[in-house]
């Protein structure tokens, strides 16, 4: 019996269905990456697994039991970080730790929180409020909070999208290490095929909405540990990347599609202030987000 199982899951928000007939089965300890266009329903899928939303049809089962609501056994890194703005970095994580490990003595609790703050390199920002942090730093707090809960399942909704390349690869390694050490089950939503190939056992594309469903899964046969630099020259890596990319493109082949060029995230500030100026990103104003009509040919 699979550890996490979605069968025939459909979800609508009053309009046409966002998701229909989603079937997914994860073994305990499996690392699955879900890739898909923005707006196709990836966050909705994560909310259904987290129990924050209820499916209209079908069931979500964890360890054989139907998921009736959210719980700390499924740690979520929300796409928009969802830090509580009146709590400091430390307090945000401590709130989760207090709740999940109520019996831990205070000193151990504190050490636990500090450990995860250090893991995401935020020790100097320990007592800062979220609004004093850059987007990438907030994202790291959010990752630290989910990891500190030591959940059975980690649900990561584009957790590294706002990070600079350096921090991104550090946290990729960290996620892989934690997954490898505690054999957690991980569902990673990402828009970065390379990231999916680096981390996942399996990549599943989500077809574009409305009425999105999971496509055929692509097993990532690359041996672990995977070295980011070596991978780039690995023929198998190149083959898989082409496969996944083509599968995604295939969904929209010949179809007129509106693609939002830039993923918008709240208040993203440049993460690495020492980086050369050209790599600086400024959050786009709404009118600057380009919607382009593209025709993708098969």
């Amino acid at each position: 019996m699979p550890f996490l199982e979605l069968s025939g899951v459909g979800k609508a928000f009053g309009g046409p269905p966002v998701l229909r007939d989603v079937n997914l089965a994860l073994e305990r300890g499996e690392f699955v990456a879900i890739v898909g266009y923005s707006g196709s329903g990836k966050t909705t899928l994560i909310s259904l697994i987290a129990g924050l939303q209820h499916p209209d049809t079908g069931t979500v089962r964890l360890d054989g039991r139907i998921v009736a609501g959210p719980g700390p056994d499924r740690g979520v890194v929300f796409q928009n970080y969802s830090l509580l703005p009146w709590l400091t970095v430390y307090e945000n994580i401590a709130l989760a730790v207090d709740q999940v490990f109520p019996d831990l003595p205070p000193a151990a609790k504190q050490a636990h929180v500090e450990k995860y703050i250090a893991m995401v390199n935020l020790a100097p920002a320990r007592d800062k409020l979220p609004r004093q942090l850059s987007g990438g730093m907030r994202q790291r707090v959010s990752v630290a909070r989910a990891l500190a809960m030591d959940p059975q399942v980690l649900l990561l909704d584009e957790p590294l999208s706002a990070l600079d390349a350096l921090t991104r690869s550090t946290l990729q390694d960290e996620i892989e290490r934690i997954w490898g050490a505690d054999k957690k089950t991980v569902v990673l939503i990402t828009n970065d095929v390379d990231e999916a190939l680096l981390l996942a056992d399996r990549i599943i594309p989500l077809t574009p909405g409305p009425g999105a469903t999971l496509g055929e899964s692509v097993p990532v046969t690359l041996a672990r540990p995977r070295d980011r630099r070596a991978l780039n020259h690995d023929p198998e890596f190149k083959r898989l990347r082409a496969l996944v990319t083509n599968q995604l493109l295939g969904y929209t082949a010949g179809r007129r599609a509106t693609v939002t060029r830039k993923l918008t995230l709240p208040d993203i500030l440049p993460e690495d202030l020492e980086a050369p100026r050209t790599s600086r990103r400024r959050p786009l104003r709404p009118q600057e987000i380009k919607k382009t009509e593209v025709i993708l040919s098969p």
């Binding site: 987290a50 129990g51 924050l52 609501g69 959210p70 719980g71 700390p72 499924r74 740690g75 979520v76 929300f78 928009n80 969802s82 509580l84 009146w86 709130l95 989760a96 709740q99 999940v100 809960m149």
Partner: protein
């Protein structure tokens, strides 16, 4: 208009001068019973230069009267917040509660303090001599509570789903959900309500004191009207206005602190 040095001070003084000028003209021409500014100052001087004097029950320095009023307002206002905030939370949290009580709230809200006071007095007739005080407290609380109730309700409904989701994933208990998420997220709205409520509480005190004859600025105003000392009506109005202004400023400062937090 061009900005010049000290315009923040000079322009308001010009405004005051215009109004005092109009007042002087009125009292000199068609409103013969209206005391002139000079006469008002003359007659008010003892109350201002000895603001804390106590010459008799209804003959005290103006700040002493103000103090009595403030104490009563503080009590009524505290009552309004203690009762109003939980009601606001219930309204914000429960659709059924809103459906049940919103119509009655909308009907009671516009009722004037002058209408509540007699009811307050009747309610507390059993307390004998203290009926005036309790009636006034009741009136202040009932009238001042609405902005707190409504702003808190709006604030609770505006708590972002994201914050609630964090609480749900962590399986926070109802109590922790309230203290760790709902209250901090609602605080800025609550303080807007608190500020507006304080303004109303101060409005009501005058009416309450006039009708109950309690010592205080409002009671003083009414007594001096009956005693035909019209200068002191104007003195009272100025003091009431100034105090109201200061209270509002203080609450704004407090509110701004919570807005930025």
């Amino acid at each position: 208009m061009k900005k010049f040095k000290l315009d923040w001070l000079v322009l308001p003084l010009v405004g005051v001068a215009v109004i005092v000028g109009l007042w002087a003209v009125c009292s000199a021409t068609w409103a013969k019973d209206l005391p002139s500014p000079a006469k008002t100052w003359e007659s008010s001087k003892p109350y201002i230069v000895e603001p804390f004097a106590k010459r008799g029950e209804m003959d005290q320095g103006i700040l002493r009267f103000t103090w009595y009023s403030l104490v009563l307002v503080a009590q009524g206002y505290a009552l309004a917040l203690i009762v109003g905030t939980p009601i606001g939370f219930c309204l914000g949290l429960s659709k059924a509660f809103t459906k049940t009580f919103d119509p009655i709230i909308q009907i009671l809200r516009p009722v004037s303090p002058l209408a509540w006071l007699p009811l307050g007095l009747v309610l507390f007739l059993g307390t004998g001599k203290e009926a005036g005080t309790y009636g006034a407290l009741f009136t202040i609380a009932v009238c001042a509570m609405w902005p707190t109730v409504l702003n808190t309700a709006v604030g609770v409904r505006a708590v972002p789903q994201d914050y609630l989701n964090v609480g749900r994933v962590l399986k926070l208990s109802r109590w922790k959900m309230l203290t760790k998420i709902l209250i901090p997220a609602t605080l800025p709205y609550m303080f807007t309500g608190f500020r507006l409520s304080l303004g109303i509480a101060w409005l009501v005190i005058v009416a309450a004191e006039m009708l109950t004859g309690r010592p205080g600025v409002g009671g003083f105003l009414w007594q001096e009207y009956n005693a035909l000392i019209y200068e002191h009506i104007i003195l009272s109005i100025i003091v009431i206005g100034l105090v109201g202004f200061v209270l509002d400023r203080l609450m704004s400062l407090l509110e701004a602190r919570f807005k930025s937090a």
